[in-house]
């Protein structure tokens, strides 16, 4: 698969300490992907995202504050985001289980403290993974902390299970 050099999308902006119970209410825990996605939509609505506005519908890149994804380890929150089309997450800092789960499902997690004050909901942004840069509309670039080698390898494989398959094959 390989890690894409460039990921584009529109910003869904969130604050500090967004927890997984709010992001994906536990009543939507399910093995059914459709139901899991409904949970994310419920969470988004609760956090004030305008789902009727097309701007947030495709190619989402979440830009969050500190301690993003704290709380429960239920991976349904991350699976819901993936079904919903979230391509990448930039946060000032991540809660550790949530960050691992995003990477394990192939979604890049970038740490950057400066970006939050500089973007708006719905604004197009581009993640330049090879250059450690986030490009805003208009060409302005902000750098993010380089990805760890291990994290990069998982993302390059497309997630932890494809990474495991590679490991087993001795590639």
């Amino acid at each position: 698969m390989g890690l894409p050099e460039f990921i584009s999308g529109r910003v869904w902006k969130l604050g500090d300490h967004v927890n997984t119970d709010v992001l994906h209410p536990s009543s939507y825990f399910s093995l059914d992907a459709g139901r899991v996605e409904e949970g994310i939509m419920e969470g988004m609505e609760r956090m004030g995202a305008d789902l009727k506005g097309k701007s947030l519908k495709d190619g989402l890149i979440i830009v969050a504050g500190e301690n993003f994804g704290c709380g429960s380890s239920r991976e349904t929150s991350v699976r819901g985001l993936r079904h919903f089309g979230v391509r990448g997450v930039v946060a000032a800092s991540f809660a550790r289980i949530f960050m691992r789960s995003l990477v394990n499902l192939g979604i890049p997690t970038l740490e950057c403290k400066e970006i939050q004050s500089q973007v708006k909901d719905g604004q197009p942004i581009h993640l330049k993974l090879k250059d450690n840069l986030i490009e805003l509309d208009g060409g302005k670039c902000i750098s993010f902390s380089p990805l760890d080698i291990h994290v990069k390898k998982i993302l390059e494989a497309g997630g932890l299970i494809p990474y495991l398959r590679r490991e087993k094959d001795g590639i």
Partner: protein, 415 residues
């Protein structure tokens, strides 16, 4: 290095492979509660379906226990059938909350490296283990390989000095820490507790380690001492061969101190466990429901102190008091010691051991605008029911005192 005992445990489990900041390590034990285990079952089967070592996993049906909807019944059924088909030796159905069962069973001893598919797996650290939670895909990787990848966290030494006052419990200690340092105050750190006066009973240590994750910590660990030894001896008939795992003084990035004798009962205000204040500041707030239970606050000492407060008294008119022992074993002991009778005579309702109201799963869900004081670990918005409901967190002592008056009450006033 400043990685504490946690770093040493990681080092001892490392298999020599390293990528970036991450080390490949052997895992000693894995906890698999029903919903998050069910989430990885289809992929596990696809990958060949073999767990690396069946002796080293505990499967529990405790979240959907017993199931309250058809969908949940089918999830529980999947888990139970898999455990039966694979002849997993440790599968516990409806016997209690996974984090209590994990420490009640004969598996964990100091120095072990333990994972669980639930964030509150940190509870096991009270026994001197490195115990931490992960998502289902991480756990699937471990079930297939017996390994995981860990980044050694920076370790913080926390000295707990002085004695616990009769009105103070482990819950107050952890709320104090969360209040001081905030919801992400220990992000990615290991919290290592030294109970200098050996003042904190094991049940309270479980409550403390259970909630370190609310501060963002990777794990919490009590340095093993006489209390650990006594617990293991009562549990297993012997205290095991673990005493050498911290023979040299470990290094720490930071050192903190809490004077236990200066603590006041704490209450965490909605909607964050870190919004902890002294009970005086929350006093008088009218509650609709009190919940005493969960993997934080449903152990024997929690029920004992609840019963002590409620003895020969009645809860306030209109108050709903729900009490959930954390396991069948605790439930039985609480019956034998008379705690259950006392709680029931005061007007409390006993629920079967399971997660229940804590995660808004079943039994005791809150309606619109309702307020609940809970001994559980999280009071995030909507966690226990309607999005407009409000949850306050406190110790079982404060919860029981508040059940008597119908308002948040300082337990010192009724003790």
């Amino acid at each position: 290095m400043s990685k504490g005992c946690t770093g040493r445990i990681i080092q001892k489990h490392a298999d020599g492979r390293r990528e970036g900041d991450y080390f490949s390590v052997h895992v000693d034990f894995v906890l698999l509660p029903d919903p998050t285990f069910a989430l990885l079952l289809s992929e596990l089967k696809e990958l060949g379906g073999r767990i690396w070592d069946k002796e080293k996993v505990l499967v529990t049906v405790d979240h959907f226990a017993p199931p309250s909807t058809v969908e949940r019944a089918n999830i529980a059924k999947k888990v139970i059938s898999y455990a039966a088909d694979e002849k997993l030796p440790h599968c516990s159905v409806y016997q209690g909350i996974c984090h209590q069962l994990l420490v009640e069973g004969p598996w964990l001893t100091p120095g072990m490296l333990v994972l669980g598919a639930d964030s509150h797996t940190t509870t096991g650290g009270a026994l001197g283990c490195l115990a931490t939670g992960m998502g289902s895909t991480d756990i699937l990787y471990t079930l297939m390989t017996g390994r995981t990848w860990l980044k050694p966290p920076e370790a913080v030494r926390i000295d707990l000095k002085g004695k616990l006052l009769p009105s103070i419990m482990g819950k107050d200690v952890i709320l104090e820490l969360l209040g001081r340092f905030g919801e992400g105050g220990f992000l990615y750190q290991a919290l290592e507790f030294y109970d200098i006066n050996e003042a904190i009973p094991m049940d309270d240590r479980f409550a403390i380690c259970n909630m370190v994750v609310e501060g963002g910590a990777k794990n919490g660990l009590f340095h093993p001492d006489k209390i650990t030894k006594k617990y293991l001896k009562e549990r297993d008939g012997h205290s095991g061969h673990w005493k050498n795992f911290t023979e040299e003084e470990p290094d720490y990035a930071k050192q903190l101190e809490i004077d236990l004798s200066s603590l006041k009962p704490k209450v965490a205000l909605p909607h964050s466990p870190a919004r902890a204040v002294d009970v005086e500041e929350a006093k008088g707030e009218v509650m609709n429901q009190i919940f005493i239970g969960s993997c934080t606050g449903g152990r024997l000492r929690d029920l004992e102190l609840t019963a002590r407060i409620l003895k020969k008294r009645k809860i306030a008119p209109g108050m709903r008091l729900l009490v959930t022992p954390a396991s069948q074993k605790i439930y039985k002991e609480a019956i034998e010691k008379g705690y259950v009778k006392t709680i029931m005579e005061a007007g409390g309702v006993i629920l079967n051991p399971s997660c229940g109201p804590c995660g808004g799963i079943d039994k005791g869900i809150l309606g619109a605008e309702e307020k609940c004081l809970s001994t559980s670990n999280r009071n995030f918005q909507g966690r226990m029911g309607d999005h407009s409901s409000k949850v306050y967190l406190a110790s079982p002592l404060t919860a029981a005192a508040s059940a008597l008056t119908g308002r948040i009450t300082d337990p010192r006033e009724v003790m």
